[in-house]
Amino acid sequence: MRIIRDIAILLGMVLIQVYLLNEFLFFRYLNPYLYIYPLFSIVLGYQRGLQLLVAFALGASVDLLEGSGGMHSAASVFLAFILPFLYGLFKNNRDDNQDISGFQSLSLERKLGLLLIGFFIHHFALFALENFSSDAWLSLLKRSLYSSLFSFIFVLLYQLWNARR
């Protein structure tokens, strides 16, 4: 049952990304990439190998639908690979709630910190691959920073809304 739910969430996220978020461009060049959010919220609880495979499938489906040729796959596999290390940094050992594991057990601030850094790393990898050359590092950094902040605003709103419920 959980598998079906997870697959539905992942697929839904890909469709939202490709047909909704990619159609709207804010301030002419900002494009929020929210499809990686399930990597934090559900995939982080999976086995290590499965995490990478799911991340690859997620990125590859965005690539296929958008025709972006492997960039999203590479970036999201990279994110999935380092995400457990990041999670280790943010996890709090003392009041870890054993009933719910992983991402959901983090407090709101820790969640947001993890999301911000994770988004930045993913966006940076993505834009670096998109540029595919060694020049224009500064504009690359700037673009990744703005874009990840922009994507982050969306999850921030979602998290705050979630926390209030």
């Binding site: 047909y19 461009l25 002419r28 060049y29 494009n31 290590r48 190998g49 990478l52 495979l53 690859f56 990125g59 590859a60 690539d63 296929l64 639908l65 025709g67 972006s68 040729g69 492997g70 960039m71 796959s73 590479a74 596999v77 990279f78 690979f81 691959l129 998109e130 540029n131 595919f132 224009a136 504009s139």
Partner: protein
Amino acid sequence: MRYFLLLLKRSRILILFLVLEAIALNWVVQSKSYPRAQFRSVNTEINGQISSWSNQWQSYLNLRVENDYLAQENKKLRQQLNSSLMVQNYGADTIADSVLQQRYTYIPAKVVHSSHLKANNYLVIDKGRRSGIARNMGVIGPQGAVGVVASVSANFARVIPLINNSLTISAALKKDGYFGPLKWPGKDYQKSQVSDIPRYAQIETGDSLISDGRSRYFPEGIPIGTVLNKELQADQNFFSLEIALSTDFANIKEVYIVKDVFKAERDSLINQVGP
């Protein structure tokens, strides 16, 4: 051996990570290395199919703007019709004229997918090999030059637009014919850059640039853009011009593929080996 297997087992996550990244990066490299490697036509076909579904409802949203463009183009074409020209020849003699022969034919197509904010943009159009499209054909729109066909599948074709930095075409000043390579510097999809214009050329802001007769892709005289400003290159002998592109790549729907009837004959001379 045993130790080796243990090592393998212990680092299986790292290996899986490296394998997946290798697959993805290989994919990236393959799709970026135009024109050395052809894009896979299977990929083009799938992308085109999916985009044409999602495009059907989107095309309604832009009907008004699109109509304007078409009306303008109609106007321009109408002006070139024989009926809108005055016959200046009142003489009695007529000559059976075999001087003018059709050189270019145009195939209309619709854009089913386009990007304009990436570092490497491209378009997909809904005509392919079955409609007679081949690689390296020029693509123009109602407002001016658009790009060049990069790969073709049965029903779709992938076009490298002027706003992709792997494409260089020759652009000439309409006024006095000086020409130079047009290459997109990136960043802004409304602007591009023409370099190597001689310093003694009299250039003013607003001068228009057209496609050059030397170009392999376009007929002569297709609008490309207008000059925004000029500055001397590092070598102090040539100007580099910043230009505003005439085609609005953020809103592009109808295009024409240019088919050069004499392409084979022309290429046979260009590709000749030896003196």
